[in-house]
């Protein structure tokens, strides 16, 4: 049975992204297909900002998520509306807004709420981290 993780807490103001990472890591090690996808919403989308650089003596949460996603082929979705308004923009959105830069980290993808609904409808349950 597969599950969906929904992360809404900011990587800077809460421990949601870290708790979700620990949960996902343990779940995937036990059952590699137990999580169908992770959807980051609200301030949690800041995890996908490629320009953010944590101090060297702190955990690099973005990198840890990227490593986990790569190891287990885990989709990491960022809500596109929440991300764009916070300056987390992929190449196509950058062109659409006629910007010179994009800031989405590799391993993350911008998706609409329809993707979250599809995850909710196709997995046993959703586990949220606020």
């Amino acid at each position: 049975m597969q599950h969906t993780l929904l992360v809404t807490g900011s990587p800077y103001q809460s421990k949601a992204c870290h708790s979700a990472l620990c949960f996902a890591r343990a779940a995937l090690k036990a059952q590699p297909d137990s999580i169908k996808g992770v959807f980051f919403y609200e301030d949690a989308v800041l995890i996908g900002n490629d320009l953010a650089q944590p101090p060297r003596d702190e955990i690099n949460l973005k990198q840890a998520w990227q490593t986990l996603a790569s190891e287990f082929n885990l989709p990491l979705y960022l809500c596109i509306a929440a991300a764009v308004r916070r300056g987390v923009i992929n190449e196509s959105e950058s062109k659409r807004y006629e910007l010179n830069h994009h800031s989405l980290s590799h391993g993350f993808q911008l998706e609409g709420l329809g993707t979250l609904v599809e995850l909710m409808n196709s997995t046993q349950k959703i586990i949220q981290f606020r």
Binding site: H3, K15, R25, S34, Q124, I126
Partner: protein
């Protein structure tokens, strides 16, 4: 069994009684992140309703160590046990 995941030392005035009153017999409560500190202030997590409703109380061992807390209440869970508990629950509520 519904697993109630609590991650704050205290919630807003309207949320705190809501989650406690929503507990049903056989549910489980899991304290994570700073909610671990509730175990150092038992008045914030009234144990009487939990015992009366046969509700199991869990906390994350990793978070307890992070906050330097050695709880005398509840059962410590590793991350692996946390996953097993969450996946075995019929529903999951993150308050």
């Amino acid at each position: 069994m519904t697993l109630h995941q609590i991650n704050q030392l205290s919630y807003a005035n309207h949320i705190e009684p809501l989650w406690q009153q929503s507990l049903k017999q056989g549910d489980a409560v899991l304290l994570i992140e700073e909610a671990i500190l509730r175990l150092t202030q038992p008045h914030l997590t009234s144990m009487t309703p939990l015992e009366e409703k046969h509700i199991c109380l869990y906390y994350l061992q990793r978070d307890a160590e992070g906050y330097g807390v050695q709880p005398s209440l509840g059962k410590a869970l590793s991350d692996t046990e946390w996953v097993e508990l969450a996946f075995s629950a019929s529903s999951h509520i993150s308050w």
